[in-house]
């Protein structure tokens, strides 16, 4: 997998640039062909938005609603259900550390601490001053036998230990 980084759209009120321009609409049309309803393309469409903008703003949601024939409120209800859609800007690298019971007993907490330190994010959910890192704890990543699994952007990294963390963070500089 590529070592991808999130772009990030401004959170302010600058003039809105639509996500679904010609090329994106093409991608969306491909997706739409897989389903019998337009609504079913909502999750994939939101993924497209997040990939393009780094997070999903209220305005983005309204745009998706328009493109798929839904209402903005409906889209917002769906976005807020799924934890992987960012409703706020996040650091360029988004780090998810599993801390559910099986990883907890294998030392996940120390991995979290090491990551907060090495990235400079300091606090869970906060973004490091250089805008590069956001670290959060997540519930079960589904790799309990490879404790502790860490998702950095789209890279799924297994068996992370505190001493592996500095090298890992360096890789994304």
């Amino acid at each position: 997998m590529s070592v991808g980084a999130h772009p990030s759209q401004p959170a302010g009120t600058e003039e809105y640039q639509p996500v679904f321009t010609e090329q994106m609409l093409e991608q969306l049309n491909e997706i739409l062909a897989r389903y019998p309803t337009r609504q079913a393309a909502l999750l994939p469409a939101l993924w497209l938005v997040q990939r393009a903008r780094g997070w999903i703003s209220d305005r983005n949601m309204a745009e998706v609603a328009e493109v798929l024939g839904l209402t903005p409120a409906y889209v917002k209800g769906v976005v807020t259900f799924y934890t992987m859609y960012h409703q706020h800007p996040v650091g360029r690298h988004f780090v998810q550390v599993c801390t559910t019971s099986p990883c907890n007993i294998c030392g996940a907490e120390a991995v979290v601490q090491a990551l907060l330190e090495a990235t400079g994010a300091k606090e869970l959910g906060a973004t490091s001053p250089d805008g590069k890192w956001t670290v959060i704890e997540v519930e079960c990543l589904g790799a309990c036998g490879f404790a502790t699994p860490v998702l950095v952007d789209d890279d799924f990294i297994e068996s992370v230990t505190p001493d592996r963390v500095p090298e890992l963070v360096r890789k994304y500089k």
């Binding site: 209220d58 305005r59 949601m61 309204a62 609603a65 839904l70 209402t71 903005p72 409120a73 409906y74 889209v75 917002k76 209800g77 769906v78 807020t80 259900f81």
Partner: protein, 516 residues
């Protein structure tokens, strides 16, 4: 084809109900109200509050009665220990994050959470006061709706109404788990023309009407079955009065007309019922000015005028007047060269997409169809022209008073400036102050009841005209709206055979072709 019936027992009461019916509805027929929150007969079943759990013999788990269909031989126990304890458990869960702010909550007294907690909740909470309760600030959802999330029990009735009935999903459930709340998108508001129904649907005090906010406690209200006068749909409503002031209009279920809903136009269309500038006594012209008098004097002045009148008579009537009033008003001029007309204010039509044949109708009057049945026409302009040369012009609660040479008799609730040169002015009750009936656009005959006293000496218009008719020798006067309607039914083919008793408070179709 005869309806297929299913026999079952609910709390020992045998009932026969139609196949496919839900247990919760069948229970109503057995006289049992199964406590519930998310279920509403006008909405798709959600099955989420889990309050209506009941025990069904031979089923391993408790079942929600809102999503279980009746079956032959089914034995339902709503009061079994397991069912009661499950519901007590649900109530306890609902209350852990619910503020105990009933003393300042508009819903108190008509709150289903209060009612069912009183009925089968625990006396005390086991939720430690050390734990914070969920808190979210009050939100302004739309022109008339406030959301108090702390009181919300996530029954989703409001969301389902907007999604499946209004077909404009501007409300959602946001987030999940105990962080969930009813959400909106910042770019859209709850401003659908039927949005106010979410306030009625909310079983707790979470969705509030700004219009009704802190106006009254539920137990101070008197409730009267009435009809909406906002348009020709004829939605059934309840007028809530406090100390003889109408403070709220709510839908009254009628599956044939408005199901469980009314539009916001109708909901807000009540302030005029409380107007203070009413005519409170009959007025007669003496020495070029109107003077207050008693009914006998005023009625005599009218009969004298009518007896001596020439052949040409014009009636201009309000389509808000009762069928009974319009009938007796018409009878006065039997045998004369009579023209009767009414005019209707028109507005934009606003359908409720999820319910067939339900809309705020363009025609903003409740009894145009009744007026037509009684021979009043819609050619108002022509009637105005005819009025110029008529010997007598009778105006019934219609502000648009013509220029004329003949005598004006004005019968109304308030006195428009141009009615001041009337020979006689007779004060009448408004729709909230009398019993009466309307015929809606589909030809359905429906009754409304008196919710508050009429001011001063004002009387129902049907009484006024029946007294005048009697004085002119057209039979005995009537003593009640029911009697008045009986006379109408005898005289008008379309209403023949109907009576107030038969109409009840949901009405009956008239024997007339449906006009659209």
């Amino acid at each position: 084809m005869p309806e297929e019936l299913v026999n079952l027992t609910i709390d020992g009461v045998p009932v026969s109900v139609s196949k496919g019916m839900l247990v919760i509805e069948a229970a109503k027929q057995a006289g049992v109200l199964v406590p519930h929150y998310c279920y509403h007969p006008g909405l798709p079943v959600a099955g989420v509050c889990r309050m209506c759990l009941v025990e069904i013999e031979k089923q391993p788990k408790l079942a929600i009665s809102c999503a279980t269909q009746v079956a032959e031989g089914m034995v339902v126990k709503t009061q079994s220990a397991a069912a009661k304890s499950a519901r007590t458990g649900v109530l306890e869960f609902l209350l852990i994050n619910h503020p105990l702010d009933c003393p300042i909550c508009d819903q108190a007294g008509e709150c289903e959470l209060q009612d069912f907690t009183f009925q089968e909740g625990r006396a005390g909470t086991r939720y430690s006061p050390d734990y914070p309760k969920r808190f979210n600030p009050v939100e302004d959802f739309g022109p008339d709706v406030l959301y108090v999330p702390n009181r919300c029990i996530l029954c989703t009735r409001c969301v389902r109404f907007m999604e499946d009935v209004a077909r404009e999903p501007v409300l959602n459930v946001s987030e999940r788990g105990d962080r969930a709340y009813i959400g909106v998108h910042p770019e859209t508001r709850l401003d659908h023309p039927w949005a106010g129904n979410v306030v009625d649907l909310c079983p707790v005090g979470s969705l509030l009407s700004k219009d009704f906010l802190h106006k009254a406690r539920a137990w101070e209200l008197d409730k009267t079955a009435s009809l909406c006068t906002g348009c020709s749909q004829g939605c059934n409503v309840t007028l809530d009065t406090r100390e003889n002031v109408v403070v709220r209009v709510r839908p009254r279920p009628n599956l044939e007309v408005n199901r469980y809903f009314i539009c916001d136009h109708g909901r807000m269309n009540y302030r005029w019922m409380n107007r203070g500038d009413r005519i409170e006594a009959p007025l007669v012209k003496r020495g070029g000015e109107l003077h207050a008098t008693d009914w006998q004097d005023a009625l005599e002045r009218v009969t004298t005028t009518l007896r001596g009148a020439g052949p040409r008579v014009v009636s201009l009537v309000s389509p808000r007047a009762s069928t009974e009033a319009l009938f007796f008003a018409r009878e006065l001029f039997r045998g004369l060269d009579w023209t009767g007309a009414f005019q209707v204010v028109m507005g934009e039509e606003a359908p409720l997409a999820g319910v067939p044949d339900l809309a705020l109708r363009a025609e903003r009057a409740p009894n145009g169809r009744g007026a037509e049945l009684l021979g009043y026409g819609r050619e108002y302009a022509a009637a105005l022209a005819a009025a110029q040369s008529a010997a007598v012009v009778l105006v019934l609660d219609e502000p648009d008073i013509p220029v004329r040479a003949g005598t004006l008799i004005y019968v109304g609730t308030v006195l428009p400036e141009r009615a001041r040169d009337a020979e006689v002015v007779l004060p009448i009750a408004n729709v909230a102050e009398e019993d009466g009936s309307f015929v809606n656009r589909d030809g359905r005959v429906q009754r409304y009841a008196q919710a508050k006293p009429a001011p001063g000496m004002a009387r129902p218009a049907w009484w006024v005209f029946s007294e005048l008719g009697a004085a002119l020798g057209h039979g005995e006067p009537v003593g009640s709206a029911a009697e008045a309607f009986e006379r109408v039914a005898q005289a008008i083919d379309a209403l023949r055979g109907l009576s107030y008793e038969q109409l009840g408070f949901v009405g009956k179709p008239a024997a007339v072709p449906v006009a659209v």
